[in-house]
């Protein structure tokens, strides 16, 4: 067997690479991998945050999760939020990308502003805009004869209101990726298809969409993960109400950890959520490759 020893130059190259990436690796180990391992361990424990006492309970937290109706409800709420937010946000982002591709640069900047604005600031401002008695949105609706809407104080309207806020916040980010994807499609494909008599709808259906598949899969995975982790606007605006209508999984994890003093159970739910998102991501990638 021909076993080649790496050259001194290659060894030096790898050593330099390792040295340069060491700070990032140490950072990842301390702030990412170690907490992740700790969370997995905590999931098998009854951990009292206030006293610091820990006791092994095996799979008890996971058994509780399997029969917890509130966890089921929060998971369902999260799925509803995902269905409201992600498809609409991606469709809107693609439409905006097509619109601004040849438009002025300032228009892209305007659409991107919400993306770079603090989530806390956005939440507070939208919370005021949704005010049922004196909010901006009800004032505007009143101007066109629509009666005041309860928005965040209604079980039916609270989640769509949060989803709308997040679509506004995130659409610029997705649009940026769609723009990059559109730019990377060779122009001669369009020219050849146009020569063959394809209309604009057919160009979009048979050239643009298939060649954006990679971008769509990437955005679908990242937006799905982001949607299932939604927390800040709900924590700041509705705190899960009214009557649990916006109580999502991550808020429930937070409540168990820091309000109900059940850190072990919170860790177990975190692990389950991470596994769920891992499965979704792997499935999406495989489905994309299979095509």
């Amino acid at each position: 067997m021909d076993v080649r020893r790496p050259s001194a130059h290659a060894i030096e190259h790898y050593r330099s690479a390792l040295l340069l990436s060491l700070p990032a690796l140490v950072g990842l180990a301390i702030f990412w991998y170690w907490p992740t391992i700790q969370a997995v361990i905590l999931g098998f424990q009854d951990y009292n945050l206030m006293s610091g006492s820990q006791a092994w309970t095996g799979l008890e937290n996971y058994r509780t999760a399997a029969t917890d109706p509130l966890l089921g409800l929060t998971f369902l709420n999260t799925v509803i939020y995902f269905l409201m937010e992600v498809p609409l946000q991606m469709a809107l982002a693609l439409a905006l990308a097509l619109l601004v591709r040849r438009g002025p640069a300032w228009l892209r900047t305007v659409i991107l502003v919400p993306t770079v604005t603090s989530m806390v600031v956005v939440s507070v401002i939208w919370g005021l805009m949704y005010h049922p008695n004196s909010g901006l949105i009800n004032s505007l609706l009143g101007g066109v004869g629509v009666p005041p809407q309860p928005f965040l104080t209604s079980s039916q309207q609270a989640m769509p209101s949060i989803a709308l806020l997040m679509i506004w916040k995130n659409v610029g980010f997705s649009m940026l990726f769609f723009l990059a994807g559109l730019v990377s499609i060779p122009r001669n494909y369009y020219e050849a298809a146009a020569t063959d008599g394809a209309n604009s709808r057919q160009l979009f259906r048979y050239i643009t969409l298939p060649l954006l598949r990679g971008t769509v899969v990437f955005l679908l995975i990242t937006n799905t993960v982001t949607a299932f982790k939604v927390f800040t606007p709900i924590f700041l605006i509705t705190e899960g109400g009214p009557i649990n209508a916006t109580r999502v999984v991550v808020l429930y994890i937070f409540e168990n950890a820091f309000r109900f003093n059940k850190m072990g159970y919170a860790a177990a739910i975190s692990v389950l959520l991470a596994l769920f998102l891992l499965v979704i991501s792997v499935y999406s990638l495989r489905a994309s490759r299979a095509r």
Partner: protein, 449 residues
């Protein structure tokens, strides 16, 4: 290669578990009972021989609180030159979330203010130590009973009563005069809630102008998320000692049969009507509505008067007692100093708490602020509380003030019931909301049985 990776993964996992197991043994804190055996404060070394000690004192920000504690600390340090006290002031909104994380860490503040409704919860979890031996019986008799009840767990006091807060109705004198409505001036003459709605609706109606609507009533935050403000309305629809009035089982583990009695359901309906049917109060927050003349009345805590005087000096306000449905009840609570179980300087920390709860300690603080004292003797002595408007608060404290329902699960109770009251104010289906809250609370509180 795969099998090597598998072995490596198993090794890392096993190592992590082993490490965690070691941590469990090492990090197990001393139980509260052990901490109780600490040397009594009286036996601490004489001041002149004592080693220098630095104590960390954490408290939530509040109007005048920083300068007040600076003054009290200066007085204490003058008597105890070997002790240095470092203040750690935390934004009010962040405090509730930060406190359990502090206690969970290895070096929490030696002395921390804990909301009176959560003291028993922290005591139950071993995060704070009992303060046995630092209060004389005469001290305990002088403290307001509602605070002693909230500080006592299994026969020991875990917090030192320091200041107290209760609620009153601040009203716009000019608006009431213009409407020809005369508000009650004593606790005995307090309006019932229906009387309040009728009279304040008249005032709000008369105060409407081209500049906009005037709300009849606002709370410090709208609708209030804290049970300090909202729960007395529900409790007041029961007779003293009834399940409705108690709102929680005596052992603190059950709310079914307490929060969902027919009287309570009737009171929830009244609470919702305040917002929906009568439209007396806004369903979302309107900052500074009372100060800006956008509301005729405001239910707030006793120290709010000084805030109004500072921020809205032209506002002509006065105070009337809190209304009620059947039984007059207001909640009396406040933050109380506690000593962390993980403190390395428990004796010195207890001595500082002892000073804060003493008459001298409060007076050093009171010179700079207008908070109300937790001692009955001071309430009856301090000139400010003998005359209106602050005498209303004093009279409420001495006659109709009760502790909010609490126990080991007090923090969870406050959280879930607070959300319930918020949901109802915002128009939720009352039966569904109460049913969901009672089911969740019974499940959560069962762990304390």
């Amino acid at each position: 290669m795969r099998s090597k990776l598998r072995y490596l993964f198993v090794f890392v996992l096993a190592f992590s578990f082993a490490l965690a197991a070691c941590q469990t043994a090492d990090e197990e804190p001393a139980p509260a009972e052990e901490a109780e055996t600490a040397a009594p404060v009286e036996e601490a070394a004489p001041v002149e021989e004592a080693e220098p000690v630095t104590l960390r004192f954490m408290f939530p920000e509040g109007a005048g609180r920083g300068p007040g504690f600076e003054s009290a600390i200066a007085a204490y340090q003058e008597m105890n030159p070997h002790v240095t006290i470092e203040m750690e002031s935390v934004p009010f909104r962040e405090y509730g979330g930060l406190l359990p994380v502090q206690f969970a860490g290895d070096s929490p503040a030696d002395v921390a203010l804990v909301d009176s409704s959560a003291v028993i919860s922290y005591a139950y979890n071993g995060a704070i130590v009992p303060l046995d031996g630092i209060f004389e019986q005469s001290d305990v008799d002088d403290f307001l009973p509602s605070l002693v009840a909230q500080a006592t767990y299994e026969g020991s006091m875990y917090a030192g009563p320091f200041f107290i807060s209760t609620q009153g109705v601040f009203y716009n004198v000019d608006m009431f005069a213009a409407a020809g409505v005369e508000p009650p001036t004593t606790v005995e003459d307090a309006w019932t809630w229906p009387e309040f709605v009728e009279n304040v609706s008249k005032v709000a109606e008369s105060a409407q102008s081209d500049e906009g609507d005037v709300w009849g009533l606002v709370f410090l935050s709208n609708p209030p998320g804290s049970i300090s403000w909202s729960l007395p309305v529900i409790r007041s629809n029961g007779q003293p000692g009834s399940n409705t009035f108690m709102a929680l089982s005596p052992d603190g583990t059950e709310v079914s049969g307490y929060l969902d009695t027919p009287e309570a359901m009737e009171a929830y309906q009244f609470w919702q009507d305040l917002y929906v049917e009568h439209g007396l109060a806004p369903q979302g927050d309107v900052p500074d509505a009372f100060g800006n003349g956008q509301a005729a009345t405001m239910i707030s805590f006793s120290a709010w008067g000084s805030v109004l005087n500072n921020v809205f000096p032209d506002l002509n306000w006065d105070i009337m007692p809190i209304p009620y449905l059947e039984t007059h009840v207001v909640h009396a609570s406040h933050f109380m100093p506690t000593v962390a179980a993980k403190s390395d300087n428990q004796d010195e920390a207890k001595a500082f708490v002892q000073f804060l709860s003493s008459i001298e300690g409060f007076m050093a603080y009171y010179d700079v602020t207008s908070d109300m004292p937790a001692r009955v003797s001071l309430l009856n002595e301090l000139e400010e509380f003998q005359v209106r408007p602050l005498s209303i608060f004093k009279d409420e404290l001495l006659t109709v003030a009760y502790a909010a329902p609490g126990g080991p699960g007090g923090a969870i109770y406050a959280e879930i019931v607070g959300d319930l009251m918020l949901d109802i104010a915002q128009g939720a289906d009352i039966e569904a909301a109460v049913d969901a809250a009672v089911t969740e609370l019974d499940a959560q509180l069962a762990q304390f049985g």
